[in-house]
Amino acid sequence: MKYLEKTMEKLLKRLRIASISLAVIGACGLVYNLILFAILRPRVLNFEALGEQMDTLNILGILSGVSLALIGFFHLFTVITLLLQVTAQRSASMLKILTIVVGVISGLLLLSDLAMLQDIGKQYVAGLGTAAEWTILFINHGLHLLFTVLALITLATRSKRESLPPETAVKDDVLFAAAHTTGALCGGIGLTAILLALLTRLPIQVIEAISIPISLLVLLPYLLMLGAWLFMKRRERMKDWLDEKQFQDTARAGLWTLLLLLPCLTAFGILQRVSGSGNIYDSIWFPFTIFLGMLAFSSVVLHSIRG
């Protein structure tokens, strides 16, 4: 057992150092991409001829692709390192959970970066506008940058608890709290995204098209953390998954969530009937309910744990 603990400790130390190095490389890649995009954007938007510099642009494009690959590798490595820290070292600060949540969302948005770059190339050749694609690309890179900063802070900070050997726990409470912190964060992010969509008055068709992919994107960190918790519980009987206080806390949270969701669902039902078909409430009621439920349930559990 001691040997396993020491091996894990060594592995985590090496992963941490490797992640910090990758974070620095990833940050350089991000800065490179941002500078390249800032130079290219006005020229592409104004349909300036780029034929003469095509060779140089091809090399710059390949470098940008390499940067994205490195950034992706850094995302994957860091999220795995932090998840291992949460499960093996039983260390789950709010900052660490936030970094994992942002990391998963930001990592998946790298695929959207590739799609946007391809769209920009095709639409430039076809003579079509690319303003929306550039905006998405810059927002995504803003999120990658936020993750890089959070990852560097999280990886560089060693809490007192991490420097001490963790006391073995038969019943784990760290991962339980971590799963609910993730739930509260993801619920909050999801509700903020819906609120932003409403405030910016996005067309209903756009909201309909993006609501499911964005909801899945925001849900993924929560599912990941929940999966990690279930993985740790796989050898226990289901009735032993929670101890009696955790059971009481989740029961209380369930009651509060029900009390909050019932009037919300009633309000949505009334609004849908009053507004007729093709209204915005048809598109947002489901993600809104899911995220509000997550935020309420996990927040009450966390409050009960700490209260």
Binding site: E167, T168, A169, V170, D173, E244, K245
Partner: protein, 70 residues
């Protein structure tokens, strides 16, 4: 009426036993022991008996009723 307890004192009398060690012995999380000690959570009869049995004393020696003054 409130439920008071001597768990913290009993832990210190048992070689400064940690909350985690007691939690492991009775099959709950460390936070549950912390919540019982601070009076934020009242354990079930079964858990109260498990804690008493761990310290090899009766339940009444671990837990006691505090009558609140009006």
């Amino acid at each position: 009426l409130k439920l008071g307890n001597n768990i913290r004192q009993l832990r210190f009398e048992h070689d400064e036993l940690s909350q985690q060690a007691l939690a492991n012995a009775v099959g709950v999380t460390r936070l549950t022991i912390h919540s019982i000690e601070t009076g934020k959570f009242f354990p079930s009869a079964l858990l109260a008996m498990k804690i008493a049995r761990f310290f090899n004393i009766s339940v009444e020696e671990v837990f006691h009723i505090i009558e609140e003054e009006e």
